[in-house]
């Protein structure tokens, strides 16, 4: 094992026996031996990766791809059929919260039980118990039985214990949705702190936003193998685009099926007329995909951005602006899906991937924009008061629930210049005054 690594996973595989009808009792095992048919499902087909000390890694993938199994192997809840896993340091897992809680015992007693399950000794728990209580914000209730807690309080206590186990390696499975918004933010900040203290973190999550906030690297597992690995900014768009296409093709399949059925019906009813069958679906399937699929753009194609141009106040197309002058973005679109209104959103990143700004019509006006079959939407900025640098713009048409018609990452890049020598991320409007006069 390399000294700079905290985790080394070499080519692990795992098969599960999936029983079609599993007999666990003697009677079932002897009498119904036929029922005990099973198939071997290969969940992991050779996964290898390394994690450096202090690195945060996100595991993503569709349901059943093997990411949770991988995490369970890392925690040693399960063991691989072949391959090796090496870990350096104390491992703690936030997979199950509140393990071993006894409802009739006080919050304080349960802290001791729960923390001991994570492998802490009495002395170590004594040292942490105040931090845990403080973090859970349950000072007034800590000596009441846990059964009197609300579910939110219960989870807060459980999370507080889990997060205060100082581990060298922290494994997390989809549990950051704890408590209210402020508590979630607190958990996240704590996680960042833990990371900056040098803890290696592996997170399984479906929330790409959360992963982007904390992970240095994303590993996309697909059908038991690693499909993509790299910075979240590179991998997530590809993953999103893949998933969108997946749902789309499934929807198309369903549509085809439906049409076929309808046609079959038609054929029966109109059999006498011998009319030629409608071939609309084939046409639809043959329609060339106008979007290039380089992982930067995804969506259902019901609305498609055509021409996006950036102009100054005189209508001249430019890509360099002062941070004090107005910028107009005009977005031309086609609307083959005949969608009558849509949310339109924008996100701005600096070229070192710092997220500068993001908004959409729902946030701004709590409304969607009305659309035509073909039209132009203009987004006007009074000015973009950031400091000098290159800024990348994402644009999207989507439904309020987040379903994307067309999400385009990195549509254009603007070079913003600052006439003054200010420093920092942005330029604030300000003035100075001295009571000594001018």
């Amino acid at each position: 094992m390399k000294p700079e690594n905290a985790i080394e996973v070499h080519n692990i595989t795992k098969k599960f026996k999936v029983y079609l009808d599993k007999g666990k009792t003697l009677k079932e095992r002897t009498l119904f031996s036929k029922r005990r048919k099973f198939e071997n499902r290969e969940v992991l087909k050779g996964i290898s990766f390394e994690a450096k000390k202090g690195e945060a890694i996100g595991l993503i993938g569709h349901n059943g791809c093997g990411k949770s199994t991988t995490l369970k192997m890392l925690t040693k809840i399960m063991y691989p059929d072949s391959g090796t896993i090496e870990m350096n340091g104390r491992v703690s897992s936030l997979i199950e919260l509140g393990a071993g809680f006894h409802p009739d015992m006080s919050g304080r007693d349960n802290i001791y039980i729960n923390a001991s399950i994570f492998g802490l000794t009495k002395k170590e728990i004594d040292e942490r118990v105040n931090d845990i209580i403080e973090f859970s914000e349950l000072e007034d209730f800590i000596d009441n039985p846990v059964r009197t807690y609300s579910s939110g309080m219960y989870m807060r206590l459980a999370f507080a214990v889990a997060i205060n186990v100082d581990a060298d390696i922290l494994l997390i499975d989809e549990i950051l949705a704890v408590g209210d918004v402020t508590f979630q933010a607190k958990c996240f900040n704590k996680l960042r702190k833990i990371k900056s203290d040098g803890t290696t973190i592996v997170i399984v999550s479906h929330s790409l936003n959360q992963l982007e906030m904390i992970c240095d690297r994303t590993i996309w597992i697909h059908d038991g193998v690693i499909r993509e690995e790299g910075s979240p900014f590179d991998v997530h768009p590809k993953y999103m685009s893949f998933m969108a296409n997946n749902t789309l093709s499934r929807a198309k399949e369903e549509k085809k099926e439906e049409k076929k059925k309808e046609e079959a019906k038609k054929e029966i009813t109109e059999a006498a007329d011998h009319k030629p069958v409608n071939t609309e679906i084939e046409k639809e399937a043959e329609k060339p995909d106008t979007k290039q699929d380089d992982g930067k753009r995804w969506g259902s194609n019901e609305i498609v951005m055509t021409k996006v141009s950036v102009t100054d106040k005189d209508g001249v197309e430019r890509n360099t602006f002062f941070n004090s002058e107005p910028v107009f973005v005009s977005i031309g679109y086609d609307n083959p899906g005949k969608i009558d209104k849509s949310v339109v959103g924008v996100a701005i990143y600096r070229d070192d991937k710092v997220h500068i700004y993001g908004t959409n019509t729902l946030i701004d006006t709590s409304k969607m924009l009305p659309l035509k079959d073909k039209g132009v939407i203009t987004l006007a900025f009074d000015n973009i008061p950031v400091n000098a640098g290159n800024y990348i713009f994402d644009l999207a048409f989507h439904r309020p629930d987040g379903f994307n018609y067309d999400f385009w990452r990195g549509v254009f890049t603007l070079n913003i210049t600052n006439a003054k020598g200010e420093v920092g991320v942005m330029s604030l409007s300000h003035s100075w005054e001295s009571d000594a006069g001018k």
Binding site: F16, K24, T25, L26, K27, R29, K72, T75, K76, I77, M78, Y79, V91, S93, I95, E96, A99, G100, H102, D104, M105, Y112, I113, S116, I117, F118, G119, L120, T121, K122, I125
Partner: protein
């Protein structure tokens, strides 16, 4: 193996808190709370006294005490086997979601029952004191190796049975029947001398619990030092079983999470 022992030692607080949770949590919410731990054996003893000195008079002197000093360790042993066989499956959530050395569960289960037995013995001692039984300090000292032998034997069985039950759930019900049969094959309700003479050696040899029960009775009821030769046989069986049990448990535990 050594690494394993070290790891289990690192989780000693977990064993401690699981035992504490079981003992304290069992009567939590009841009015008398922890007192029930003592009330239960006390009333059991009172009932036996009534039945066996008034209704079913036996020709064994103080039969209730004769029975009781053997019954308490027997209950510890049989519960370890019958109840212990489900100790992993009842902690399913924990086993599927969290890593800890799996041995912790059977160890804390058996230890909890063991402590319960010790507490029951406190009641026995109190009653014996009130009834002016003779106490032989040297014999009482021998209780320690006897109890340890029984503990090792019980833990060895629980390792195997708790693991097997994960894969084969009938085990728990089979054990219910087996422990009942085993009780009648052990000198709990009768004395070992009642067994036909030609079978006695065999009787003591094949049943590792027989010398243990006899030893308890020797120490507490007859106030004499037990026969260590026989007890050593039980200890030997216990240690071998413990090692086999632990080894098979370790092999089985790798598949617990996926089998449940």
């Amino acid at each position: 193996m050594f690494k394993r022992v070290k790891e289990i030692y690192a989780y000693r607080t977990m064993i401690y808190s699981l035992v504490k949770r079981d003992l304290k949590g069992r009567y939590k919410g009841s009015f008398l709370g922890f007192l029930w731990t003592f009330i239960n054996p006390l009333f059991q003893l009172l009932i036996y006294t009534f039945v066996f000195s008034i209704v079913m008079r036996s020709n064994i002197e103080d039969y209730y005490m004769f029975l009781f000093v053997a019954l308490i360790p027997w209950i510890f042993f049989s519960t370890s086997l019958a109840g212990g066989s489900t100790c992993i499956t009842t902690q399913k959530d924990m086993v599927q979601k969290i890593y800890f050395p799996r041995e912790v569960i059977p160890i804390s289960y058996v230890t909890g029952l063991f402590i319960n037995m010790l507490l029951s013995f406190l009641v026995v001692f109190a009653v014996m004191f009130v009834m002016k039984y003779t106490f032989n300090p040297l014999a009482l000292l021998c209780l320690i190796p006897v109890m340890l032998t029984e503990y090792i034997l019980a833990l060895g069985f629980t390792f195997i049975l708790s693991g097997v039950t994960v894969f084969f759930q009938d085990m728990q019900f089979i054990m219910g029947i087996l422990t009942m049969a085993w009780q009648f094959l052990s000198p709990v309700m009768y004395s070992a001398e009642m067994v036909p003479e030609e079978l006695q050696t065999l009787y003591m040899l094949i049943n590792p619990m027989a010398p243990i029960i006899v030893s308890y009775r020797d120490i507490l009821y007859y106030a004499k030092v037990p026969d260590f030769g026989m007890l050593l046989m039980s200890l030997g069986t216990g240690v071998v079983l413990f090692l086999i049990g632990w080894f098979t448990f370790d092999k089985m535990q790798r598949h617990f999470a996926e089998e449940m």
